[in-house]
């Protein structure tokens, strides 16, 4: 099973030049300063990071960054190469939304009186799959986990009813077509790079583009 996204696969999905949302997954050592080193790869090119999450990965001691940007395939691939070039980065993947399972968590603080009085609010909450995290006399905190559109829609819906506070987490994403990093790490730890390690997807286009 391949964990790498081949060019053919990518190009079939997205116009090379056209912008769309990409989720970049970075496996890296857990080291002070690395986040800055990665962030400036984007800011140097004046590219805005829409969402950034750092978390542990399936492997102890290895961190996993999820970065969301809206860019063309060509730009994202170059960014991925630049990130992977950093000494403490092990591997970078980038995926379109169809290729990942992703979630964001949003919290909404609303006045308890408002919800108690207005049935419509309660209906809204049911409709958006919200759960109550805290219920106090003065306010209630609801949580929704889901895609951006879902959490955004609830913000819109709650606006007329005194939404006191709103916050949304960064995106976390699992790559559908990934066997995880355990096997790969063995390759990285080996002294000589193995075949898996030298995967080089932009070179794998040979068959397609090489015509002479």
């Amino acid at each position: 099973m391949s964990t790498e996204n081949t060019l053919e696969h990518k190009i079939a999905k997205a116009d090379f030049e056209g912008k769309q949302e990409y989720t970049i997954t970075v496996y890296a050592e857990n080291r002070i300063g690395l986040l800055n080193r990665i962030a400036i790869i984007f800011s140097k090119r004046k590219i805005n990071i829409e969402s950034l999450n750092t978390s542990p990965s399936e492997i102890d001691g290895i961190h996993r960054f999820n970065i969301v940007i809206t860019e063309s395939y060509d730009v994202v691939r170059k960014l991925a190469r630049q990130i992977e070039k950093q000494v403490e980065v092990l591997k970078v993947y980038f995926n379109t939304n169809e290729e990942i399972i992703w979630q964001e968590l949003a919290l909404y603080k609303v006045s308890t009186d408002e919800i108690a009085e207005k049935v419509t609010v309660e209906r809204l909450l049911r409709q958006y799959g919200a759960s109550a995290v805290v219920i106090r006399k003065d306010y209630t905190v609801f949580a929704v986990t889901g895609h951006r559109e879902e959490t955004d829609a609830l913000v819109k819906a709650l606006e007329p009813y005194e939404l006191i506070e709103f916050v949304r987490s960064a995106r976390v994403a699992i790559i559908k077509d990934s066997a995880g990093f355990h096997e790969k790490l063995k390759e990285f730890e080996a002294f000589e790079p193995g075949e898996e390690l030298i995967e080089n997807e932009f070179l794998d286009k040979g068959e397609k583009i090489f015509t002479m």
């Binding site: 992977e84 070039k85 070179l203 040979g206």
Partner: protein, 582 residues
Amino acid sequence: METAQDTIQAEAQAETSKTLFKGTGSQVLLNGLIEEGVTTIFGYPGGAIMPIYDALYDYADKLEHILVRHEQGGIHAAQGFARTSGKVGVCFATSGPGATNLVTGLADAQIDSTPLVCITGQVFAHLLGTDAFQETDVINITTPVTKWNYQVTDAKEIPEVLAKAFYIAKSGRPGPVLIDITKNAQLQVEEFPEYVKCNHIRSYRPKPKVRVEYIQQAAELINSAKKPFVLFGQGVVLGSAEQEFKNFIEKSGIPAAWTIMGDGAIPTSHPLNVGMLGMHGNYGPNVLTNECDVLIAIGMRFDDRVTGRLDKYAKQAKVIHLDIDPAEIDKNVKADVGVWGDCKETLPLLTNLVNAATHEDWLAKFRDYNQQEIDQVITPELYPEGDEMTMGEVLRNINEICGGDAVVVTDVGQHQMVACRYAKFNNTRSNITSGGLGTMGFGLPAAIGAKYGAPDKTVIAIIGDGGFQMTPQELGTIMQFGAAVKILILNNRFLGMVRQWQQLFHDKRYSFVNITSPDFVALAKSYYIEASKVDERANLRNALETMINHEGSYLLEVMVGRENNVFPMVPQGMSVSEIRLK
């Protein structure tokens, strides 16, 4: 009788005394430098690096320390040293302003892939973040301009971090590394294990195992090409692959042109060396880039000064790109075949698979263009008929005197382009210039370092009147430590390259390019450096010979024509095939 237990204990003791070194973080740092083969350090002391300098006092017989006059001079000298010697350049600076003065050199080394290890002192760990005296966030300031950097707050980390630093700086695509060491770590006394060099970091792959299928695809393309053209850059030099490169072009018979960073990887006189690429490069290589059928780029990165307008660059050609840095492949020019790897490994594989060939008709085209350039540009530049001296004729004289064996270090501007265009090189690692960053002020300090890196060579620093005034303080370093650098100032009393652009593209509105100079001869003499000035052709040859044959350092100022332009030129935003001869 000796028991087994005694033996074990004795062995354990012997082991301990052999492998453990008790001392300060500073001492273990210097020991590590010696283990890494460092002989020369360029540096400047200050408060936060004093413990290291205190330890250095006892290492005078093992480590030569050159006290520069400014940290920027120190790092450029380390760059010059690295470029001529092929070793890692090392420089020391203190915290705060000492560290920030390194930034230009780090950026220069980063973009020109020069291996450096820079050690900066830092305030005590407990003062970090308190805006202490001479505290600056050097790690974050230098992150975009280093291949790797690390702050040490505990001496126990020093040996491992130093070993990593050297490994990272010199392996793969080389680059600058900075280690920031807090003062407490420099002073901390510990028992250190034996120094172990680093040769593997799990998250870092300096080079891949070469995949033969791409070599085969490249060879197929080359073998079917009628008009193949090789572009080579510093990658050939950094990979020490000069011989492998020569074998490749000689077997395949392909004409080869260089970027200024690749200049000298094969001798200037090599019959397949067709000259310089880019904005002020040679006529044929630029025009024929847009005529070749297969373009083979080796260890170069398609800088905009090389490619001109990208959407009109070699569109007719199949592109093969050999590079050790996968991020360079497809970055600016899309490769039909990317060969990711160290060209020292990939070139022999490719040479094996390519057919022996000659491309006489194709080479003749380069010669035709070259003849046009000789007639219209080169001859008037090298053998001018007017009274004013040209930069080109100075270079011609240097070629005649040195025969192509000198190391030529340049600063940035018109003289740099003229030197790259006309200087003859027989040997690799002889052309030292600030290519990617274009750092004025690079020339003098880099030449000092270049001399330490190649002590047996004649080192000539060619510098403009503008660039010289950016780092003239390094004359003091020459005065004190005696680097026999030949300083050649080509003085046109203008910031010439900017003036040229203002003339050609800004209606001759000469905005702040009219720079005045001090008496350079008197300045040099005030540093006890021999010096003279030439303002007419009759004395030029003699003066150059005097400079080159002089025992120690020497400064020669040559007054050249004020408003000479460097041609050919690919105007910015134009295609390489739109190169102008005048």
